[in-house]
Amino acid sequence: MQLEPNEHISEESLESYALGSLSEPLVTGLEEHLLICPACQDKLREFDAYVAAMRGAAARLDREDESRKTFWTRVSEALTVRRLTWALALMTLALVVLAVRLSLSPPPSIEPFAIVLETSRGSQAQHAPARRPLDLSLDITALPAFPTYQLETVDASGRVQTQSSSTASQGRVKTSLAKGLRSGNYFIRLYSPSGELLREYGLQVD
């Protein structure tokens, strides 16, 4: 390459030179020109920086691709049809065992909440926690004595929630609400065996 005065090296040649791929006869003229041309030196410096940056970035991305590929290769190698079948079988078995255990195991034992109801409607209502078994103890002081009593739990709108019968003992009639009640206001009604309403107790479930 012989450059005339006022000529600069082409970008193509500078790039090839920066990449080290310029043929030797061209290198001679280019390097001679570079020795005396600051503009081409600056351009070559830019090309050097660009080529180094592209090389570095491409190498980094290649390594990242490679490691990603290696990871998926390992995963796919590990997951052969036979191994996958085994893994699925084991997982199914584990799920079955878990389901059986859950179905067989008794529900978590929650201590029933004991409460004595002594008041009637209009008085201050007793409080009980929601969704918890309740052991109710109804005070029957001053009520006629019967061998059994009918019990009914109704919500604030009068819908019947539970019905049961119970005997009196030591001036009280006891009953249990195993499933508990949802939040709201309830009334526990006490009936005689013939169905006569004897008393109503207020209960607020929070």
Partner: protein, 220 residues
């Protein structure tokens, strides 16, 4: 990266040389080598000054590019000493070939330094004392700049298609020739050149944007 001139990349395929870029500085006019050599031979101080003025930047650039910044001034000085002494001894028979002669001396200097480094490494193998190796590493500022450039290049490569990225990777990283890439990837030379120039333009554009953002931050 603000100085990247991307316009020329969009120009049609050039030959090895291009006419002076009207937007850039003109190439230096060719000095009268015969006069210069004559002055050096006569031990004329102005001849020495001219020689230094014309070649010092280029020699420094070449040596630094090949050998790194360590002891650069000493190497530049040695080179000029060799050139001047050789000219005075009359070893340069064709004065108009001064440029080629300086290049030869610089190349020999580079080869000599590399040879010396290899030789001293070989001699010191097995010795407990560490070998004195040349520091070719960039200084912290240059390292930071390089990292930023690499990050920009990464963004450029991530923003193009997988196929385009492969083309650029083959060219810049695997050093495959343009012809090889075009044949294997079924590309025309124009497509190849266009992809390269677009990537470089994008690189320059992102670099400028980053520079502008930094400037804005600095003056905010």
């Amino acid at each position: 990266m603000a100085g990247f001139n991307t316009e020329a990349l969009h120009a049609p395929q050039e030959t090895a040389v291009t006419a002076a870029d009207p937007t850039g500085p003109a190439a230096p006019p060719g000095p009268n080598w015969t006069d210069l050599v004559a002055k050096i031979k006569l031990d004329d101080q102005s001849g020495m000054e001219d020689l230094y003025r014309i070649f010092s930047r280029g020699v420094r650039f070449y040596l630094c590019r090949q050998l790194g910044p360590q002891d650069l001034e000493d190497k530049v000085h040695d080179t000029f000493l060799i050139v001047v002494q050789a000219v005075r001894r009359g070893e340069l028979r064709e004065p108009e070939r001064l440029m080629g002669f300086v290049r030869t001396v610089v190349r020999r200097q580079v080869a000599g330094h590399i040879d010396q480094a290899v030789h001293s490494r070989r001699q010191q193998v097995g010795l407990e004392s560490g070998t004195a190796v040349m520091d070719l590493n960039r200084d912290p500022e240059e390292s930071a700049i390089h990292q930023q450039y690499e990050e920009i290049a990464r963004r450029v490569l991530n923003s193009i298609s997988k196929r385009d990225r492969e083309i650029l990777t083959r060219f810049y990283l695997l050093e495959q020739s343009q012809q090889e890439i075009c044949t294997q990837m079924n590309l025309t030379e124009t497509q190849f050149r266009l992809l390269k120039s677009r990537a470089k333009a994008r690189f320059g554009e992102l670099g400028k944007r980053r520079l502008a953002r930094r400037g804005a931050l600095r003056f905010a």
